[in-house]
């Protein structure tokens, strides 16, 4: 009895201590030293095209609506509330009173109108397609913004929470050196002023970027404390994975991202390091060409759905996940990642390994004597070549010979964008918390021939068009379920795996997060003494 009492007391005590630690006050101030593998190119929300830009931009700029902590929900940003008209063609947003840019000037409706018009201008950058449904942005008074749409668009709130819809200071931008928008943008992006948690303080290209706390940032934590906690974030550029990890172990930096999968276990057992595996929208797969003939005119067996299914069945995802991702990946159930809104994974993993079925399907397709395929991979990407080499051996059992060709990224893109390929290594990360970006890219033919595969399914095209204006969330979910089922059944790609974002911090770092879209989130991070 006595021991039970003691044990209960001990358990209660531990529970209390744990609770106290979880709710401990964050440490204010301090500098977080974070190493990245590559530098940003242009810190402009509209004209950027690289993840290294996007993932930092969200620290410098705020959007009207912000992605929630799960990366799928939406929470108030520079707009405190928003509502849609019953016909879904008008959105009314209330601008946050007292919101300021990092120089102390107020965020006005003029800034909002100008920023959104700049972001949706088809001549500006590559992201304007996310706002293509907007017909007009207006402000009936100083704190109301009315967005009129050409057609109902359920993804508009998510688009307003995406980096390219960031609100920029109109007057400061116009005051930047240059005559055209591009020239002004290039100069403004060297000293950008936004209303995000941080502001750029200095930037030595290729080596270091210093972000300082924005004292005017509107964000607060759950206890009402002003964010961010940190005074400064130092972002250094360290391209080599092994060097970044050595720096972390030596305490030269506090945190870093892109930990190679083979190093995760080792860092998990390091007492000084927290190894984070953040849910991500990253999927790794092989794109394929489903057209009857290849660009050079030779007949293409992959145009036969049974051949595509057979080859999908003949890939042991389990083996690839084990070897390439060291067990950190999970098999894909859909072309969408499981962290995407309206993801449907209810039918289980796509094409679980089944060699007998693969042989049967190939026989039915009349290809049981085998054939030769060619896959393109990016040179220097060891994971891609390992995956293809493994698949080469798996497919050999079907009499299918796989040739692997390596090339640099731009050459590979060139082959992809002109449909001059048979198979190629690919991966995808969403930029918007909505399933429509990848669906438009991979499944919807009229855009880019279903990621240049030439695969066309009228029902998918129709369902996608419906879903793009569908205002009933339940109906939209049902449309996406059907699209994903048809896609998987037709196998216009070779499904491989999903992976988390692997980031590591010193044990002293609390609260650093990476969103499923990849954005590095520093506003609730602090360094424990």
């Amino acid at each position: 009895m006595k021991s039970l009492l003691l044990r209960t007391a001990f358990a209660l005590g531990t529970l209390f201590a744990l609770n106290a630690a979880a709710y401990a006050d964050p440490v204010m101030g301090g500098t977080l030293r974070f190493a990245r593998n590559t530098d940003s190119e242009i810190l402009d929300p509209v004209l950027n095209n690289a993840n290294a830009d996007i993932w930092i931009l969200t620290n410098l700029y705020s959007t009207l609506i912000l992605p929630g902590p799960d990366g799928q929900s939406l929470v108030p940003g520079l707009a405190t509330k928003w509502s849609a008209s019953p016909d879904g063609k008008t959105y009314t947003l209330t601008l946050r009173q007292g919101a300021k840019f990092a120089d102390g000037s107020p965020v006005t409706t003029d800034d909002v109108i100008w920023s959104l018009n700049r972001a949706r201008n088809p001549n500006n950058g590559i992201w304007n397609f996310l706002l293509v449904s907007i017909a007009n942005v207006a402000a009936p008074d100083d704190h109301t913004i009315v967005i009129t749409l050409k057609n109902p668009d359920p993804s508009i709130p998510a688009a307003l929470a995406t980096f390219n819809s960031a609100i920029m200071p109109h007057k400061l931008f116009e005051a930047a050196k240059g005559t055209t928008d591009t020239e002004k943008a290039n100069n403004f992006a060297l000293h950008p002023i936004g209303s995000g948690p941080f502001v750029l303080s200095s930037w030595q290209r290729g080596s270091k970027m210093v972000l300082k706390r924005n004292p005017y940032y509107f964000g607060t934590d759950s206890a009402g404390r002003h964010l961010p906690y940190l005074d400064e974030v130092d972002l250094t550029i360290v391209p080599d994975d092994a060097t970044r990890i050595l720096q972390l172990q030596a305490g030269q930096i506090d945190a870093t991202e892109f930990i190679p999968y083979e190093r995760v276990k080792e860092l998990q057992s390091d007492p000084n390091i927290t190894m984070d595996l953040f849910p991500s929208t990253q999927v790794t797969y092989l794109q394929l060409n489903a057209m009857p003939t290849l660009k050079d005119g030779t007949p293409n067996p992959l145009s036969n759905v049974k051949v595509r299914q057979a080859l999908n069945y003949a890939i042991s995802k389990k083996a690839i996940i084990q070897v390439v991702t060291h067990g950190l990946g999970t098999p894909m159930h859909s072309y969408l990642s499981s962290a995407t809104p309206d993801y449907y994974g209810g039918d289980g993993p796509a094409y679980p390994f089944d060699m007998a079925k693969a042989k049967q399907l190939l026989k039915e397709a009349g290809y049981d004597k085998g054939f030769t395929l060619t896959a393109l991979a990016q040179a220097g990407k060891a994971n891609d070549t390992t995956t293809l080499t493994m698949i080469q051996q798996m497919w050999a059992a079907l009499g299918v010979k796989l040739k692997i060709q390596q090339m640099d990224e731009t050459t590979l893109d060139n082959h992809r964008n002109s449909s001059d390929f048979q198979i190629l290594s690919a991966y995808w990360t969403n930029d918007i918390a909505d399933p429509n970006e990848l669906t438009d890219y991979a499944a919807y033919y009229p855009n880019i021939k279903s990621q240049y595969s030439g695969w066309k399914n009228d029902e998918v095209d129709k369902l996608f068009e419906q879903s793009q204006t569908e205002l009933d969330p339940a109906k939209r979910t049902a449309e996406y379920k059907k699209i994903q089922q048809i896609y998987v059944a037709n196998a216009p790609e070779f499904f491989l795996y999903e992976t988390p974002f692997a980031a590591a911090t010193r044990k002293t770092v609390i609260g650093f997060k990476q969103s499923p879209l990849g954005n590095d989130i520093f506003d609730e991070a602090y360094i424990q003494k």
Binding site: L190, D240, L246
Partner: protein
């Protein structure tokens, strides 16, 4: 040599023009273009046309070349496609780092190779000679990035004698940060120089004029520095000059491992990103640097061996 200097300098001009033309054409022969690299998977034909027009890469190649030459004569290398700032600014920021790295690496190589080659030559085939040659053989055959990682792991992360990569802030901190990368870069060159110098010294030691100097009763150390060193250095110097180009090439790997923001890494990024203006600018600057090194080598050689002047 000094009399021939203006001629040599004039000779360099056609070399630069040739390099300019070759680089200008070669980079455009690679599949893809700056717009394609910028747009990646978003490269629809319309987007490609729009961006190429914005950047001026839709003009005929000869028009682009004339514009490039015209700007070059005004000291303008164009605007970087990826960084959107003048190429001269990009190079001015990155070049000093690489120059410092290469100069330090060359100095380390000479400091290591000269005394050790003499020790090895004078103690030919004895234990110390065999050991030194063994060590340098290993240095020569180990990949540069691996030497770098070993140094970083042991001297940096374990012993904390040196920073684990990066460039620090300020001049002295910068030099301190460059010690390990320069050593890594210098070891390979030291091995090459030491092997050559050792065998030359052995040859020179057997030469008649050395025997004669010794017979005249000149002090042994004066024979070594005055006769042997000077005559052995001629071939080693030529080898040193030739290898500066290789050293510049290896900076790509070393800069990557040690997170040094130099010109080597810049060139590789620019080629992958089809950043034509940066590729052209960096290649020209590197060509000028290598030509200057060759010229300096020639001057030093003719000083060491006045016969070359006749």
């Amino acid at each position: 040599m000094l009399a021939r200097l203006p001629g040599r300098l004039l000779q360099m001009i056609p070399t630069f023009i040739l390099i300019g033309v070759v680089v200008f054409v070669l980079i455009r022969l690679l599949p893809g273009n700056p717009a394609a690299a910028l747009l990646g998977i978003h490269a629809t034909p319309e987007a490609l046309a729009r961006i190429n027009a914005q950047l001026g890469f839709n003009r005929p190649i000869w028009v682009q070349f004339l514009l490039f030459v015209g700007r070059l004569l005004h000291g303008d290398l164009g605007i970087s496609v990826s960084e959107r700032i003048p190429v001269t600014e990009v190079i001015a920021r990155r070049l000093p780092v690489t120059l410092a790295l290469v100069v330090m690496a060359a100095a380390f190589a000479l400091i290591l190779a000269l005394p050790l080659a003499f020790v090895a030559a004078l103690r030919q085939n004895r234990a110390s000679d065999v050991a030194l040659r063994g060590v340098f053989q290993v240095g020569l055959s180990t990949p540069v990035f691996y030497i770098g990682l070993l140094m970083l792991g042991f001297l940096g992360a374990q012993l904390h004698w040196f920073p684990v990569g990066g460039i620090g802030s300020g001049f002295w901190s910068g030099l301190y940060h460059l010690i390990l990368p320069a050593l890594t870069l210098g070891v390979g060159l030291a091995a090459i120089l030491m092997r050559s110098l050792r065998s030359t010294v052995i040859g020179v030691l057997r030469a008649e004029y050395v025997e004669f100097a010794r017979a005249k009763g000149i002090a042994p150390w004066r024979v070594l520095t005055g006769h042997v060193l000077r005559n052995s250095l001629i071939t080693t110097l030529a080898l040193f000059g030739l290898n500066i180009g290789t050293l510049l090439g290896n900076t790509v790997i070393v800069e990557n491992v040690f997170a040094v923001p130099g010109i080597g890494g810049l060139l590789v990024e620019a080629i992958f990103g089809r950043d034509y203006p940066v590729v052209q600018g960096v290649t020209l600057v590197l060509a000028v640097m290598v030509s200057i090194v060759f010229l300096l080598t020639d001057i030093a050689e003719s000083w060491l061996d006045p016969r070359l002047n006749s």
